[in-house]
């Protein structure tokens, strides 16, 4: 009896281990932070992009309309892809687009906006990238949909057709 239990136990153990590792093969090994929604926006000080005046986050997100904070840079290729969606959204009345210029050269960034048009109601600069960390972002582009000082949706990566219609739906 005792001799039978051991092989069975061994087979079961190895099957479980095999199953766990086999399942694990399909998992992505790149971690993306969990998207916590309904969190309060951070407060920070920044410089306005064109005028270089100091702006406080409390002054930016005051209204009751929707805000879309978009982290962008002229050197970021996906930012060019999502630009047309931002232009479309900027035509909507109830949504304000705030740009956060991430680690960029002023002249390049300005040329980017001249060439592709400016969808932003306000832009502030984030020269050392620390404000992006306050937002919990880690790359460009990233967008945050904000309402009443709460982040209601976080988008990692460029906007696409699907996300664009999702935002439109949320801001109806």
């Amino acid at each position: 009896m005792k001799t039978k239990i051991f092989p069975i136990f061994l087979i079961i153990t190895f099957s479980i281990i095999f199953y766990v590792f086999y399942k694990g093969l399909q998992n992505s090994n790149i971690y993306t932070p969990e998207i916590k929604s309904e969190i309060k926006i951070p407060s920070f000080e920044a410089k306005e992009f064109f005028s270089k005046d100091n702006v406080n986050s409390n002054q930016i997100f005051t209204g009751s309309e929707y805000y879309l904070l978009n982290i962008w840079a002229s050197w970021c290729i996906p930012c060019k892809e999502e630009h047309k969606y931002l232009m479309d959204l900027s035509k909507k009345e109830n949504i304000k687009i705030i740009g956060q210029n991430y680690k960029d050269n002023f002249v390049n960034a300005k040329n980017f906006l001249i060439k592709l048009d400016n969808p932003y109601d306000l832009i502030f600069s984030d020269n050392d990238g620390t404000i992006a960390i306050e937002w919990g972002a880690y790359g460009v582009p990233e967008s945050f949909l904000i309402k009443n000082n709460q982040i209601i949706k976080k988008i990692i990566g460029p906007l696409n057709e699907k996300l664009f219609s999702e935002i439109k739906e949320l801001t109806q």
């Binding site: 090994n29 932070p33 969990e34 990238g129 992006a132 919990g136 880690y138």
Partner: protein, 123 residues
């Protein structure tokens, strides 16, 4: 010959203990324990990605603001989740991780103990 050996050992030990094994400041110590989200598998200290460089600046800033090491970890954990720490805390997601080695140790010990007792009985 023996004197030479002793001398070499002494010189070696002196160098070993006087070498700066400890990080020079707390900021470095903290960034070594943070995982970079861009180059995953590297620490923030080792990485040269935009994100890691910003994070290094931010950690220094937070320390200047008077935050303790623990508070900096908590702050980042809040933003990016437990994953950013190389040394995750003890919570419901990590019970298994922390307790598994202890369980294995106890289980293995029990098996060995049983074998020893059985052997003694046979003798």
């Amino acid at each position: 010959m023996n004197i030479l050996k002793l001398l070499i050992t002494v010189i070696f030990l002196i160098n070993f203990f006087s070498s700066d094994l400890k990080a020079k400041n707390l900021g470095t110590e903290i960034t070594k324990n943070l995982r970079c989200l861009i180059c995953q598998g590297q620490s923030v200290y080792d990485s040269d990605s935009e994100f890691a460089n910003s994070l290094k600046i931010l950690v220094e800033k937070k320390l200047d603001d008077g935050l303790s090491e623990e508070q900096v970890y908590d702050y980042l954990k809040n933003k990016y989740g437990d994953w950013i720490l190389y040394d995750p805390g003890f919570n419901k997601n990590t019970y298994f991780l922390w307790l598994l080695p202890i369980l294995m140790f106890v289980f293995g010990g029990a098996i060995i103990l049983r074998k020893v007792i059985l052997k003694k009985k046979k003798l």
